[in-house]
Subunit: 80 residues, 2 copies
């Protein structure tokens, strides 16, 4: 069994309306120290098989095909 942590974030330059909304909410709540908020996804996967040489390729495929939108999002992952 292996655990994989995937981080999906918007590419630089892509507008993040959810992050902007949270930023505005924080302003109104008085947290003026926060200058920017970007919101992404944090995905934890558990695999049946251990971390073999093919796992990295498999996770790349899964990210490209399902977890991230390659037009506007980037991803990185850690295999544990």
């Amino acid at each position: 069994m292996a655990k994989v942590k995937v981080y999906v974030t918007f590419k630089d330059g892509v507008l993040d309306p959810q992050g902007k909304t949270v930023k505005n909410a924080l302003d109104k709540m008085g947290y003026k120290n926060i200058e920017e908020v970007r919101i992404g996804k944090f995905i934890e996967l558990e695999t049946k098989n251990g971390a073999g040489p093919s796992l990295k390729k498999e996770i790349d495929e899964i990210c490209d095909k399902l977890l991230a939108n390659p037009n506007i999002e980037q991803y990185r992952f850690e295999i544990e």
Copy 2:
């Protein structure tokens, strides 16, 4: 300026319907090696001031009040 990375995940035992949906999609796509999927939020914050002694308290407050639902979610963060 400091950067803060916040990870918000469901507490253990809380059902994650979005994760379940992704798990089912992966099954149908043939990725039988993936046994469990849990989906959370990954939030990046940038602050005006540097990482002082009060920043940890401020981020805890922001997580409790806005970023995480303390009833069903847990969070952790890293200050860089």
